[in-house]
């Protein structure tokens, strides 16, 4: 029983046990869930530098189902368990008010364990089985809140189900072509396959992983799903679940299809790589500006997740060692700061009784300082302010992209400024400005929500200042995928074209901060003053009407909103209506009169005989 089998056994066993314990007593179940996720984190941490494959099950028509661990799957598994554990801790308080919590915990742990299964899968069949379990358990969790969540859940499941059907077709066509489903053997067989077959495989897997990764054409389901899912789960959903698509892309591009062939796949102009790059670039640009339009905090974050997935896609699809390291590191940093942001927004939603609309919040910094610091650090990570992990990963991506294709770098850099705008709108509308009357008696964030926030903020800064820690593991991945390794030092990269040194930067910024703080201290003491004592041209500050945060970037939005209608969202809706319309039409065949039915039978026979007489095809 290798570590991997124990891990999956404990994970899936834990799910059953949580549900049963939930029947007995909720506090017992909560502690068990937290302990279980901690144990999972420890098990995976212990499997740090191991690689290996074991066949763990032959029951499925004798096809060997294999579990595999290498540095790539280790880093993904580590993030999944880490974020899963934090979201369980986060949901202790969040779920207290809601009913059917044991169902929620069981599903949350089921999603986490099925993601671990995906990541550890050694062959495509195991991958597909865990992929499907993840899909339908996410569906149950997304539509957990009822009401609008149901439409969001339906849209999610239909798109992801279509994706997994495409994946099934791909897997089975590989099975029929090579007779085996083990990834290592497929990689060997793949080089011999015809390029048409390879393109088909890439397209099919691309659709499946594109839907999950919310790449630009397949992103329609994500905003509603994120906004409606309960906050602890939307932290997992946007942090880690989206990244299963990333894992899938890495798998198909570099392992199944292999590095050499991927780079030259497809024609000169329309090569798969350039299409992916262009899709990644569009995924950065369009959602960033759509995020500006959003008034719901979680929808804004959802659109920003899509945008950041575009960055990761750029990093991975570009195909040099620096860009791959940048892509994986950006995945890691995005998981950390995006779940931090979702948790803080969840805490605000929890404390203000479910208000997520950015126009009716404000001034919460005085009431919820912890949530503010969490959001501030998360936002700095999202933008990529130096000293945060977002900066390091974006720097890596740009460094590799700049000389190859400056246009893509331009799109990515301009996307950063779009990120600045919408993330500032998030932090300004929730925490700064005047505190409205109805939010007067909001208390601070509960303890169980503070803990994950502190840990995640600490990780954002730690990986920002000492990027060597994650980069050492990522270097192993880069090497295992067939690139040449980078020389990593603890605080940055010593690469050929200009190096990154975070410690000097950190020291410089720290010195600057201290100097300016002292300079401020020279000045006379300042008087703390409440929000009413404000300049209002001599008049008294009107209560509750001075909270000017509505339509924050109106001049810009009036210029660009006509271009931002979501054509794909309406496209999918049209397809749904079309099927509905078509099926109503077809149902009319069964008219309800027996005469018609018998006439059908006779018609069938006469048609057959007529065809036989005329052409006798049989």
């Amino acid at each position: 029983m290798t570590g991997m089998e124990i891990l999956l056994l404990v994970a899936f066993g834990g799910v059953m046990l949580t549900y049963i314990l939930g029947r007995i007593s909720s506090s017992l179940r909560n502690t068990f869930a937290v302990v279980l996720s901690l144990v999972l984190v420890v098990i995976i941490a212990l499997m740090y530098d191991k690689t290996g494959e074991t066949i763990f099950y032959r029951g499925f028509f004798g096809i060997p189902m294999v579990l595999r661990i290498n540095s790539l799957s280790w880093i993904f598994a580590m993030t999944i368990s880490f974020i899963g554990c934090l979201s369980v801790i986060f949901s202790l308080d969040y779920m207290k008010v809601k009913e059917r919590t044991s169902f929620f915990y069981a599903m949350l742990l089921l999603v986490n364990s099925s993601m671990m299964g995906i990541v550890l899968a050694g062959d495509l069949l195991t991958l597909f089985i865990f992929w499907e379990i993840m899909s339908w358990s996410t569906f149950l969790l997304i539509s957990y809140n009822g009401g609008p969540a149901i439409a969001a859940g339906m849209k999610y499941i239909v798109m992801s189900f279509a994706g997994s059907m495409a994946m099934l077709a791909g897997i089975i066509s590989i099975f029929t072509a090579f007779g085996t489903l083990q990834i290592s053997e497929i990689a060997a067989g793949m080089s011999s396959a015809s390029s048409g077959f390879k393109i088909f495989i890439v397209i099919v897997f691309g659709i499946a992983f594109g839907v999950k990764n919310a790449i630009w054409p397949f992103h329609a389901w994500l905003p509603q799903a994120h906004a409606e899912a309960p906050s602890p789960f939307s932290a997992v959903l946007s942090g880690v679940l989206i990244k299963m698509g990333v894992f899938g892309f890495i798998l198909t591009m570099y392992v199944v299809v292999g590095l050499g062939t991927y780079m030259s796949l497809g024609g000169a102009i329309f090569s798969v790589r350039s299409i992916l790059l262009v899709m990644g670039a569009i995924t950065i640009l369009v959602p960033t500006f759509v995020a500006l339009l959003q008034d719901d905090a979680k929808k804004l974050l959802a659109w920003s997740t899509i945008a950041q997935a575009g960055y990761i896609m750029l990093g991975i699809a570009y195909g040099t060692s620096l860009s791959m390291a940048g892509g994986v590191l950006h995945f890691l940093s995005h998981v950390v700061f995006k779940s931090l942001l979702f948790m803080t927004v969840g805490a605000v939603e929890f404390r203000t009784g479910g208000i997520r609309d950015l126009n009716s919040l404000g001034g919460l910094i005085k009431k919820m300082p912890f949530a503010f610091t969490g959001t501030l650090i998360g936002v700095c990570g999202l933008i990529g302010v130096p000293l945060t992990n977002g900066f390091v990963s974006k720097w890596l991506i740009y460094k590799s992209l700049i000389f190859g294709s400056p246009l893509l770098t331009f799109v990515a850099l301009f996307g950063t400024w779009g990120t600045v705008l919408y993330s500032y709108k998030l932090i300004h509308n929730i925490f700064l400005g005047q505190l409205p009357e109805k939010l007067k008696d909001v208390e601070n964030t509960p303890l169980s929500m503070k803990l994950p926030m502190i840990i995640l903020s600490f990780t954002v800064l730690l990986f920002g200042i000492l990027p060597g820690l994650p980069l050492r593991v990522i270097n192993k991945i880069v090497v295992s995928l067939g690139f040449d390794s980078l020389n990593i030092s603890l605080w940055g990269i010593v690469s050929e074209s200009g190096m990154l040194n975070m410690i000097n930067l950190f020291a410089a910024i720290l010195a600057g901060l201290i100097a300016v703080w002292l300079f401020l201290r020279i000045g006379a003491r300042t008087i703390p003053v409440k929000q009413d004592d404000n300049y209002a041209a001599g008049a008294a500050v009107p209560r509750d009407r001075y909270n000017y945060t509505v339509k924050f970037y109106d001049p810009l939005l009036r210029m660009i909103s006509p271009y931002l209608r979501d054509i794909f969202d309406t496209f999918y809706m049209k397809i749904a209506d079309l099927t509905g319309y078509l099926s109503n039409g077809i149902r009319k065949i069964y008219t309800g009169y027996v005469g018609n039915y018998v006439m059908y039978i006779v018609l069938f026979i006469s048609l057959m005989i007529f065809v036989q007489m005329k052409w006798s095809p049989w």
Binding site: F61, I157, F161, I172, Y597
Partner: protein
């Protein structure tokens, strides 16, 4: 070694004993079908080892095959017999508590007759005998559809009756043709002599017989009766109808096309017909708001898929088709049974009335969810191996046309997923009018749990059924071994 004839004789005898037992003591009648089917199930299980070596052929009344009637119990026949007895047993346990009011005696008698007819069709080796058992099956199902006696029940059973009789009439004409040409009614004999006759003359009888049996097995143009019959019949009966009756019809069509006629170039047409039925079934189900009609249309869809799998006529796809058939019997049965009690509790068949059922009847909704997930083909449940085999077998053939059809199959699975998930969302995530929690009665729950265990077991460890199914598919496909064992 027990004589397989008992498989037919015992349920037939007990069926006619039911009124006598009823006059003796009211309570006992409900348990008669359970006993009969339990006996059948045990008998089938004991026959498995014997059948696996070589099929058992019994000549009724001692006459040798070309003249006498013979039973042919091969792995395929036994598979169906076992399936019928198992599903019948579970439904009979379910209907212990479900059927209380109305003519209970007639229900149980007709129920036994229906199952006898089904077992007879599956085991017989003689064409006319097939027609006789087929008639028993149809007539008892006409009557059972009208069991509730309400307006919808009677109307749909009359429609079913008219279509069924037209079908049987065509079947009879077909058999007459064959008898005219070959002078014999024994399938093996006909199969042997088939080569002597010129193919175009054989076409008309084949189409007539296929159309006749097709009406019962719900192939596209002929299945107009199914939605009304299944939705107005009591749930236990619609479970049996879509679980067993259609499958038996399909077996008969397959037996005739494969073994009796064996014209291989018509298979592609049946594949197209199967896909057509699948798409139409799924589309109509998508547009339904009444839960039982939705399940009925989804049965049409599944039958289309199985027909497509059988029509591809390679060992792999036929095994997949049979696996999907077994899965369909169990999960569709589970869906109908659980829907039965939910409708009984909520009062109306509309999906909107099922809102919030997850809280009121948690176990029944769980059963419904498991059934839905397995029918759609999600991994841990029985549907996934079936679909996996069908799709891999189809792609193995490698023809471009088949690949496109497989694409359509996957597309229809997406549609199927949509309307099943819509119902699941209604069950769990829409809040109903909040009556307090009230579970289904004990017998119904045991029936559902049994089916659930079967589904999950098949889903997790499909290997144990796989070898039995592959021998059954080889029994269906190669004509020579069938003829050899009958006319040895």
């Amino acid at each position: 070694m027990v004589n397989p004839v008992l498989l037919i004789a015992v349920p037939l005898g007990l069926a006619f004993m039911v009124p006598l037992i009823d006059s003796a003591s009211r309570k006992l009648t409900r348990f008669v079908p359970v006993a009969a089917l339990l006996f059948n199930l045990i008998l089938c299980i004991r026959l498995i080892p014997a059948v696996l070596e070589n099929p058992i052929v019994i000549n009724l009344g001692g006459f040798t095959p070309p003249f006498g009637i013979n039973l042919f119990v091969g792995p395929l026949g036994l598979l169906f017999a076992g399936l019928i007895s198992l599903a019948g047993l579970v439904v009979s346990i379910y209907s212990l508590s479900y059927i209380k009011n109305g003519p209970v005696v007639k229900y149980h008698m007709l129920y036994m007759l229906l199952l006898t007819g089904a077992t007879g069709v599956v085991l017989t080796g003689d064409l006319f005998n097939l027609f006789v058992f087929f008639e028993i099956l149809c007539i008892s199902s006409y009557a059972l559809v009208a069991y509730h006696g309400d307006r919808a029940g009677i109307e749909s059973s009359i429609k079913y009756l008219i279509q069924g009789t037209v079908g049987s009439g065509l079947l009879l004409i077909g058999i007459g043709f064959i008898y005219g040409i070959f002078g014999t009614l024994n399938m093996a004999d006909i199969a042997m002599k088939i080569a002597t006759v010129e193919q175009s003359t054989l076409f008309v009888p084949m189409i007539l017989m296929v159309a006749g049996l097709g009406v019962e097995s719900a192939i596209f143009p002929l299945n107009a009766w199914l939605p009304d019959a299944h939705s107005s019949a009591p749930s236990s009966i619609s479970a049996i109808l879509s679980g067993i009756a259609i499958e038996v019809g399909l077996y008969a069509v397959a037996r005739i096309v494969f073994t009796v006629f064996g014209i291989s170039d018509i298979y592609l047409f049946f594949a197209f017909l199967g896909i057509l039925t699948l798409l139409i079934g799924e589309m109509c189900a998508f547009a339904q708001s009444n839960i039982k009609r939705m399940l009925a249309y989804s049965s049409i869809g599944q039958i289309g898929l199985i027909l497509f799998a059988l029509a591809l006529a390679t060992n792999n796809t036929v095994t997949g088709g049979l696996f999907q058939l077994v899965n369909h019997t169990f999960s569709k049965g589970l869906l109908f049974l659980s829907a039965g009690y939910m409708i009984y509790r909520s009062g109306s068949m509309e999906i909107s009335s099922l809102n919030g059922m997850g809280k009121r009847m948690p176990l029944t909704s769980l059963a419904f969810t498991v059934g839905a997930f397995s029918l759609v083909g999600l991994p841990p449940f029985a549907g996934f191996p079936g679909k996996f085999l069908i799709v891999s077998g189809a792609l193995l053939k490698g023809e471009m046309v088949i690949n496109i059809l497989v694409g359509l199959v996957l597309l229809s699975t997406v549609i199927e997923g949509t309307y099943f998930f819509r119902v699941i969302q209604a069950l769990y995530f829409k809040d109903g009018n909040g009556e307090q929690r009230k579970q289904a009665p004990a017998t119904a729950v045991t029936a559902m749990i049994a089916l659930m265990i079967l589904i999950v077991a098949l889903g997790v460890y499909p290997k144990f059924l796989a070898d039995f199914l592959s021998s059954a598919s080889s029994d269906l496909l190669d004509k020579m071994s069938y003829v050899g064992s009958v006319l040895k």
